[in-house]
Amino acid sequence: MRESTIMQLQYGTAVLALGLVTVHLLMQGVLVPYGEAVSFQHVLSVYRNVVDGALLEVLLIVVLAHGFNGLRIILLEWRQSAGWTRGVNSMVLLVTLAAISYGTRTVILAATGQVT
């Protein structure tokens, strides 16, 4: 994948993350009092709502992709060698997919009521 394509994804996820975080904070931090917003039962109810749950899932993917790609860029600027580049690219992709999988598992468990 060309670096310009990766950077377009980076910018796209950045803008999407900004928008989704703003929506999330408005819904959970402004419309709902803070104390209630961070209560366990309220958080579970957010996941059980289809729209809110989907928003959180998209936010998860977008933030992890953006964050780990940023880490990849930092690591590539730190050291330069063919082996290091290959290793960083592979590890970051694996870690990103693993983190997204684990986060999605959490969202699914919460959304389907398997967490009480």
């Binding site: 060309r2 670096e3 310009s4 377009q8 590539l76 600027e77 730190w78 330069q80 580049t85």
Partner: protein
């Protein structure tokens, strides 16, 4: 300023003899209009012949005397001591380059990165025209305005010296090479657009610039390499966007007009 003295601190370092650089102090009499280069040459001429430095034109045209002066990359020949407003001036070699000796740095990597971006016009077609030109390739004033400031580069290395990415990423081309890449990309006479984009659209290419802007802040000729790099990114985004309009490849932009002096050229 007459009659006063300046304390000139010069970084001295011979890698073949020493492990670490050190600063040596020299007392230099001040005169009106004196530049840092004048002070350095006084110190070299009268106080310590062993000071190693590069200089040549003395008029900010050759780019030889790039140094770090009071912590900022500058040309020594055009930095007035009066503008520094300090009785102590510290002169060190440019950052991000290996030190050869004292104020002289190894610029081989800088020039090799410049060569790597093919800093010349590339024509793919019309070899006959190259061998036996029948006219000129014209550039309109508007086309010239889009690239002329980037042609002012004197390859002094100050921009690369100040670039934070260049200090960590040895494969990063640097602001000078990237600005020159944009200069040739914008030139309507050049026909290597796709190859130029492939060269910089890489993991260690143009995208590793994070727009700190220090290159443009220190450039002594107004090249504004940061502007060139951001415009290069914009060009790549437009050229490689999945939403771009697919239109037939435009002509090279080179217009060959018959040379009115052709008869003169044919005379022996």
């Amino acid at each position: 300023m007459g009659g006063e003295e300046l304390v000139l601190r010069i970084q001295r370092f011979d890698p073949s003899l020493e492990k670490h650089p050190h600063l040596e102090r020299y007392a230099v009499p001040l005169n009106d209009g004196m530049t840092v280069l004048d002070a350095l040459l006084y110190a070299k001429d009268r106080l310590d012949h062993g000071i190693a430095m590069r200089f040549s034109c003395r008029m900010a045209s050759c780019g030889s005397c790039g140094m770090k002066i009071n912590g900022r990359p500058r040309l020594a020949c055009e930095t007035q001591l009066a503008d520094l407003r300090s009785s102590t001036v510290t002169v060190q070699p440019m950052d991000n380059f290996p030190i050869v000796r004292d104020l002289v740095v190894d610029l081989e990597s800088f020039f090799s990165k410049h060569r790597a971006v093919s800093p010349h016009l590339v024509r793919k077609g019309d070899p006959q025209e190259q061998e036996s030109p029948t006219g000129e390739y014209l550039v309109t004033p508007q086309e010239l305005d889009s690239l002329v400031q980037f042609t002012y580069c004197i390859k002094c290395g100050l921009c690369s010296s100040s670039c934070p990415t260049s200090s960590t990423d040895s494969l990063f081309p640097g602001p000078q090479a990237l600005a020159q890449e944009y200069r040739y990309l914008q030139d309507p006479r050049d026909e290597a657009g796709d190859e130029r984009l492939d060269l910089v659209d890489t993991e260690h290419g143009v995208w590793r610039c994070h727009f700190a802007g220090t290159c443009s802040a220190v450039c002594p000729k107004g090249v504004d390499p940061a502007l060139g790099i951001q415009l290069l990114k914009r060009h790549i985004m437009a050229a490689r966007s999945p939403f771009r309009r697919r239109k037939p490849k435009a002509s090279s932009g080179a217009r060959v007009f018959p040379n009115p002096n052709e008869d003169l050229l044919k005379r022996p």
